[in-house]
């Protein structure tokens, strides 16, 4: 069942005045910690759903790490995103085990079902599609993660059903808001 909380139910307020106190709080909590960049970026993304340029520039300035290096880390890890993501982040594992057990076919089915390619977000902002290289659940291959929920032994034929559950949950959430 779908038990996950949406990554970001609402479009976050990205104006400078509201962004800075939030970022300061995150940065302060890592004050003086070596290697703070990645945890800070994770916290910011958890909060905002993605990493907008002004937030990255602020992090670069406050942590005194060159912007090129911050961007280097953001672009290196597929977990980070600089564009808004949908309510549900769907990640398909294409690690070796998942790949040989049909991960690629699962991805194709998802692409078709969602009408988007890898790295894109659906027009209704409900779904984003990404690929991953091993979630450490090879015994359950092929694996799909939707936000923090792991779906095991996924079959292409079951994709429609899986996505429909999230779709109706997401629509209901929106109506409540």
């Amino acid at each position: 069942m779908c038990t996950t909380q949406p990554v970001s139910a609402r479009q976050p307020d990205l104006s400078e005045s509201s962004l800075i106190p939030v970022l300061d709080e995150i940065i302060d909590s890592y004050c003086g910690t070596r290697g703070a960049l990645i945890p800070v970026l994770q916290s910011v993304q958890n909060l905002l759903g993605f990493l907008p340029a002004p937030a990255l520039q602020y992090v670069s300035r406050e942590l005194n790490i060159p912007y090129s290096e911050v961007a280097g880390v953001v672009t290196f890890y597929s977990f980070f995103s600089t564009v808004p993501r949908g309510t549900y982040l769907v990640r398909v594992c294409l690690g070796t085990a998942c790949y040989v057990r049909g991960g690629k076919e699962v991805l194709e089915a998802l692409t078709k079902e969602l009408g988007i390619r890898v790295g894109e977000t659906s027009e209704d902002r409900l779904f984003s599609l990404e690929i991953g290289r091993c979630f450490g659940a090879c015994g359950l291959a092929p694996v799909v993660m939707v936000n923090n929920t792991v779906h095991q032994r996924v079959k292409p034929a079951k994709i429609h059903e899986l996505i429909e559950q999230y779709r109706s949950e997401g629509m209901q959430e929106r109506e409540v808001q």
């Binding site: 340029a53 002004p54 990255l56 520039q57 300035r61 790490i65 060159p66 912007y67 090129s68 290096e69 911050v70 961007a71 280097g72 672009t75 290196f76 600089t82």
Partner: protein, 594 residues
């Protein structure tokens, strides 16, 4: 000490050094690509692998420390095969348009491929199409030629504390470039060109002004004058395989005449002029502080180095009021050439082309700053790096080595030894102290050979003190005052010095900053490859040039005296203010949304 064996020969080496250092010191050759002297080794390229007895795999010699009794082999089949594979793989991702590439005989990748005997590339690779980035005035990036050795990134972040470029994306898609692989012009790059100086291939180079200069020289309606920075004469010879530190001043003048310049001048002249203006500015600031008890921005920082100016505008806008308002010698020259000199010879400024030969890439940026047009036109039209001048001399088929010596033209050809040493770290400060001391006390600086030894050499941050005694009447307020001066070269050192002063409140009156390690002799436009050994050789040559001069203090330059009598009237006067001085504005670190 450790006893190690390299290729069967017993070698004694210092504890803690790497196999690479030990081997090189003992005279063995090990090829490297990503290794950069003076910085933390990356071990990224694996071109330097060697065999260590007992070790299961080959070791990257640049980052493997030696141990006692280590047995190392640098020339076995296994080593040669591994190195060849490494370079073949690099070549498979490298756009090798070697016939037309700006890097020729100084391309390290080409040389390495030749030395390893590579005759074909066994890997068929379709590489991502890469855009050449020509967004800045001084530097072009061609990621297709990049082999991801990351020397540029290291020098930009660790040595210069700028961090304009870093590795973006991952694996096959990796680009060494600005954040999100955006154009260089959209990020805080100071255009110093140290990246271009350390790049082993043609992936980062200066934006060429060669064709523009040829066009001007070929245009009979143009009066084309050239100025040469002090650092060129100690390095240009390297373009023609002369030893680093060979002085070629006279040959350089002959070559410039053969290239067809209408007049050959010396940036040294405006370096002398800088000392008069900047020294007077310092004394004026000191007077305001000590006599008039006014709030004055001290210490005063030098302003000759355009990379440093851009750095301060981005990263230390709080010290902009402290930076001397003097334009750099290049820009003073341009402004005077298109006014004073143009009038003197009856040429309209619009018919004059001013070309600079600089050891620097940032000078290409500087001449295009919008405020550098006090003559009514862009004061300096083209800037050639030392390398570009070398290329032009070769294009013209000039036999540089066998050229006779010639001398520079009047009125901008006469200079003092104080101007020569502008090329070296510590040189501008020494030149300033020579003149300031003489003006204030009427006596020469009390230093052996007029050299302020604590300010010379490659130490990153240096300082000295001078106490004024028996002062002349005009400057009596400085009686007994000890002037404290500091020198930093390489922007990382400059940044450290600024932070130190801000945190400790240590008092300095005058600070020299040069963007590049070693000063202009180590500039981003100098012949490759500039190691500390090369820096020291060029520095020694410049001091030799200084010591050979009739006059060694800027205020004694008779041509400068004449310039003030005929044109400028007085230091910091109205004409000076208009033509020789400028202002600075803080720049936003993030100019463009990504």
């Amino acid at each position: 000490m450790c006893n190690i064996t390299i290729n069967g020969i017993e070698v004694e080496a210092r504890d803690g050094i790497t196999i690479l250092t030990a081997a090189r010191e003992a005279g063995f050759t090990i090829p490297t690509l990503c290794f950069l002297e003076g910085t933390i080794p990356q071990g990224a390229c694996r071109a330097c692998v060697v065999e260590v007895e007992g070790a299961p795999s080959l070791a990257a010699s640049c980052c493997t420390p030696i141990r006692n009794d280590m047995v190392i082999r640098t020339n076995t089949k296994r080593v040669r095969d591994a190195r060849r594979t490494v370079v073949e793989l690099l070549l498979s991702e490298h756009e090798g348009d070697c016939q037309t590439c700006v890097r020729g005989s100084d391309c390290e990748l080409l040389l390495l491929a030749r030395n390893l005997g590579i005759r074909e590339i066994p890997f068929n690779t379709v590489n991502p199409v890469q855009q050449i980035d020509r967004s800045t005035p001084a530097l072009a990036r061609d990621p297709g030629k990049c082999i991801k050795c990351r020397r540029c990134e290291t020098v930009c972040a660790e040595v210069q504390h700028v961090g304009a470029i870093s590795a973006q994306y991952r694996g096959y898609d990796t680009v060494i470039g600005p954040a999100f692989a955006s154009p260089l012009a959209t990020v805080a790059c100071v255009q110093c060109g140290q990246c271009a100086a350390v790049c082993p291939t043609g992936a980062i180079t200066e934006i060429s002004h060669v064709q523009g200069v040829w066009n001007a020289l070929d245009d009979p309606k143009k009066h084309v004058v050239v100025q040469t920075a002090p650092a060129i004469r100690a390095a240009l010879g390297e373009c023609f395989s002369l030893e680093p530190g060979t002085l070629v001043t006279g040959k350089m003048v002959s070559a410039l005449r053969e290239l067809g310049f209408d007049a050959v001048f010396d940036t040294n002249f405006t370096a002398d002029l800088t000392i008069i203006e900047e020294g007077t500015e310092l004394l004026t600031r000191l007077k305001s502080a000590l006599v008039d008890k006014k709030e004055v921005a001290l210490p005063q920082y030098t302003s000759c180095s355009p990379g440093w100016i851009k750095y301060a505008e981005y990263f230390h806008p709080e010290i902009l009021p402290n930076i001397s308002t003097c334009k750099s010698p290049q820009q003073m020259f341009g402004a005077l050439a298109k006014t004073y000199y143009a009038q003197k010879i009856g040429v309209k400024p619009e018919a004059m082309t001013v070309v600079s030969v600089m050891p620097c890439t940032a000078k290409k940026f500087e001449c295009q700053r919008p405020e550098m047009d006090d003559s009514g036109y862009q004061d300096v039209d083209y800037v050639l790096t030392t390398r570009e001048l070398g290329d032009m001399i070769k294009m013209a088929g000039i036999d540089f080595i066998n050229l006779p010596d010639d001398t520079m033209d009047a009125p901008f050809g006469t200079s003092t030894g104080a101007a020569d040493i502008f090329a070296n770290t510590g040189g501008v400060m020494e030149a300033a102290l020579r003149t300031v001391h003489a003006l204030v006390t009427g006596r020469n600086l009390p230093a052996e050979d007029l050299h302020v030894r604590p300010l010379a050499g490659l130490e990153g941050i240096k300082s000295a003190e001078v106490t004024f005694t028996d002062t002349v009447e005009n400057w009596r307020f400085l009686e007994g005052v000890t002037a404290r001066v500091a020198v930093a070269h390489g922007l990382g050192n400059a940044s450290d010095l600024i932070t130190h002063i801000q945190e400790t409140g240590e008092v300095f009156h005058f600070i020299e900053v040069m963007t590049c390690p070693g000063g202009c002799i180590g500039g981003g436009g100098q012949p490759r490859f500039t190691t500390d050994e090369v820096r020291e050789a060029r520095i020694a040559a410049i001091y030799k040039e200084d010591e050979g001069k009739t006059y060694r203090q800027s205020h004694l330059n008779p041509a400068i005296t004449e310039m003030y009598e005929q044109f400028l009237k007085e230091p910091l006067g109205e004409t000076s203010h208009h033509l020789l001085h400028t202002g600075y504005t803080g720049k936003e670190l993030f100019t463009q949304e990504v």
